[in-house]
Symmetry: C2
Subunit: 462 residues, 2 copies
């Protein structure tokens, strides 16, 4: 419970204008990008790491819970609090340094991903920060690290973890520690960057990060192909990765998704089982050379009914139209969607698509699927109308069965991108087993002895 | 203390032929690639994860310590035990599965890195496992993961951590847990692969690993350039990484190293401050195109007195001769060497080389330096003759000062590749501070409540 006395103490730390317990504000902060909901008791904006530290010390003293929050674009409930204080980072958003010589940037946790890239462009560095979750125009660095965000370019550039060189972390107990820095390699002591990245704000609060940068590729070109069946798309995926052709994005859209996009945009697709869209980046001469190789691969693949190659940046944009319309088009069919992010071994992608089609029939709902072939990370979209209670229940029951299928039959994980939060806790025991979850509890306790930091996420501590 | 009763229990777990307490064996196991020394009380070879588990349960019951050991090529003392049991993995060395469709291999901990690549070649997969520490012809998978080994190709392919998709881990308490699998992305729960990789066998025992594979590049070509000063070499490094030219190895050899190599091989080098050697891989057409671009970069760089380009694989090997002779050539000068692996921000490489030259003068010893420019990971080689006690002391005193320089003046770490073990413990407080080391202790305790697994490495637990 955050009583009046605690509220005054928090105000004395962050200042009057960085605190609210107005119910309208609390309602505005009661959700994220998932279905999770919860009302906190108060919200404070933080500006400095020292404020974060002082609040954590107070939270330990008074035993209230703290939930760090970036832009709350998360899809698993990580930034939603059912009690205690929400700590908002949007006002702690300074780009502290762009160090062109070391290809690094040091930023505060509240810096928006796209803003960093805009600043890099503005300064004419020729560099960019590659991780690009779909929400990058609003998602903040701290939250993206906490969730180990991915995105369409992960197949070439990796996820957040691959770009974090240094972190400033405020421990739940209030100590401020620094891990790593500007060095590209570091094996000194336990890898706390690895452990904190993706820990969903349960082990420590990320206040600053030093990230790696890389030169902006001269250009990007894409290609797409329509396959008669998901199985033949799967065979092509195998041939593609065996070929060593370096793709910077690789997306698959299943038949259901194409139908949905067609209905929404008026685009016309050939009758097919799946579409694969590939992007390559580099200098123009090199991409064109590789695009020609890709065409050879298309020609020698089985089950391709049609393909298109974009030889210039304008055509390139056109090829991405269907993929960009995929998520918005779903909204036209049904007002709500549970966006899953199951990840399976590459060879299991066709089976996953097939099983989701069967699941849709079994529960009489729609489950269009699209996602990233380079990582086996597919987004089954469980569509439903919340006013239709039976349909809503069928959709949620189907999600549970999907978990079983992915874990038992496909050697996959229930989350490759979005994290566990509150929304995927139900799968943790089946995915990880009791011994590992007991270890998680001991790790959590090593960081947060009083269990006050972002409680109830990933797993239950007690 | 491992008494007679415990020895019988261990024999009953692993079998008579997988146990020894013969003093000659214990002496043979008393060192690794560093200066660390210590005599264990017994050695057992393990064949199965269940044996590892049973031994750990026994160790907890009887409170003896266990030190896992691969090929003991480590350079920081990680596999050396001062007491208790050494657990040797060299007989647990089965390649369990090569899954070409998913570009993965699953191996037991004792598989030698080079043996995996030989098997991949033998089966005609066209794939390879890229991490290649210098010791890869003997180093084992388990030990290489425990140390998060790097190598010359890390600039393009990353380190062990970047290739580990799944682990089977025996916890110090004896439970067997599985983390990850064949999926390329996974954000389900705490990243135990990240935490265990590089934890130097202090948190858990790696018994099996599923690793990623990638297509073997068609060819490799190299280029080298001689720079008048390390500063100009540093300017070139900046231009190189800004250019986006994708190199698969980038090495620097300082003047001292070149002199040493010249004396050893009879090779003739131009008078210079440093040599940089670069490798690129890909298909031949592409590499040649990039090699031509690299030549342009050489031509436009300041301070290059001479350069060479290898346009075919034979010339390529010739260019690597000096680099390959670097370590052996040192042995001709002095019988002993402390091999350091300081890592600094890219822009600090020239200053590091300059400071090491000054340090050599200050302590009247030789400190040739070479290393990996892509990671800022340089190997200062502190040469000495152990029979010359004063020189040996000067060398070790100089190592301590090097730690100060790297941490205080160069924003670096004392270890980018080799780990802390026993040999770099003295720097940990200065590098990490008390709050973080207290956290390490709590993490260690979460995994290993009785402190029986590889004690005394990285830091002291009590």
């Amino acid at each position: 419970m955050i009583d009046g006395g605690i509220k005054e103490r928090i105000k004395s730390i962050v200042g009057e204008k960085n605190f609210t317990d107005n119910p309208f504000d609390l309602i505005a902060y009661s959700a994220d990008g998932s279905e999770a909901e919860g009302m906190a008791e108060a919200i404070s904006w933080v500006i400095t790491s020292e404020q974060v530290s002082e609040i954590m010390k107070l939270a330990n003293e008074k035993r209230f819970t703290v939930t760090p929050r970036g832009a709350a674009t998360g899809l698993s409930g990580g930034a939603v609090a059912k009690q205690g204080l929400i700590m908002d980072f949007s006002r702690m958003n300074t780009i502290l340094e762009i160090d062109q010589k070391n290809l690094t940037a040091t930023v505060e946790a509240g810096v928006v991903l796209a803003d960093l890239n805009k600043e890099l462009e503005k300064q004419g560095t020729g560099l960019f920060f590659p991780p690009m979750p779909a929400s990058d125009s609003v998602a903040q660095v701290g939250g993206s690290i906490a969730e180990n965000a991915g995105g369409v370019r992960a197949v070439k550039y990796g996820v957040m973890r691959d770009w974090i060189l240094g972190l400033e972390i405020v421990l739940p107990t209030g100590e401020i520690i620094n891990e790593g820095g500007k060095t590209r390699k570091n094996v000194s002591g336990y890898d706390l960057i690895g452990l904190l990245t993706g820990s969903e704000g349960t082990l420590g609060i990320i206040t600053k990060a030093t990230v790696g940068l890389t030169p902006i590729p001269e250009s990007r070109l894409s290609a797409l192909a329509y396959f008669d069946t998901p199985e033949n798309a799967g065979k092509f995926i195998f041939a593609l990765f065996q070929s060593g052709l370096d793709i910077s994005a690789g997306e698959i859209l299943d038949r259901q998704t194409l139908n949905t996009v067609a209905g929404y945009t008026g685009m016309d697709f050939p009758d097919c089982g799946a579409m694969i869209l590939l992007e390559m980046d580099g200098d123009m001469e090199d991409i064109k050379r590789r695009l020609a190789k890709l065409e050879e691969l298309f020609k020698s693949s089985v089950g391709i009914s049609d393909y298109r190659l974009a030889w210039d940046p304008v055509e390139n944009l056109e090829l991405w139209r269907a993929r960009k319309a995929a998520l918005p088009s779903m909204a036209q069919l049904k007002p709500n969607v549970v966006i899953e992010d199951t990840t399976v071994p590459l060879s299991k992608i066709p089976e996953l698509l097939k099983r989701m089609e069967e699941l849709a029939k079994q529960f009489n709902i729609r489950i269009p699927c699209y996602g990233h072939i380079g990582d086996g990370n597919i987004h089954p979209m469980f569509l439903f109308d919340p006013r239709d209670h039976d349909e809503a229940k069928r959709a949620h029951d189907a999600v549970k069965v999907m978990g079983d299928i992915v874990l038992k039959d496909l050697q996959g994980t229930v989350t490759g991108e979005h994290g566990v939060g509150t929304e995927k806790k139900m799968f943790m025991l089946a995915e990880h087993g009791q011994a590992k979850m007991n270890l998680w509890r001991r790790i959590k306790k090593a960081f947060d002895p009083n269990g006050i930091l972002n409680p109830g996420k990933i797993f239950d501590y007690d």
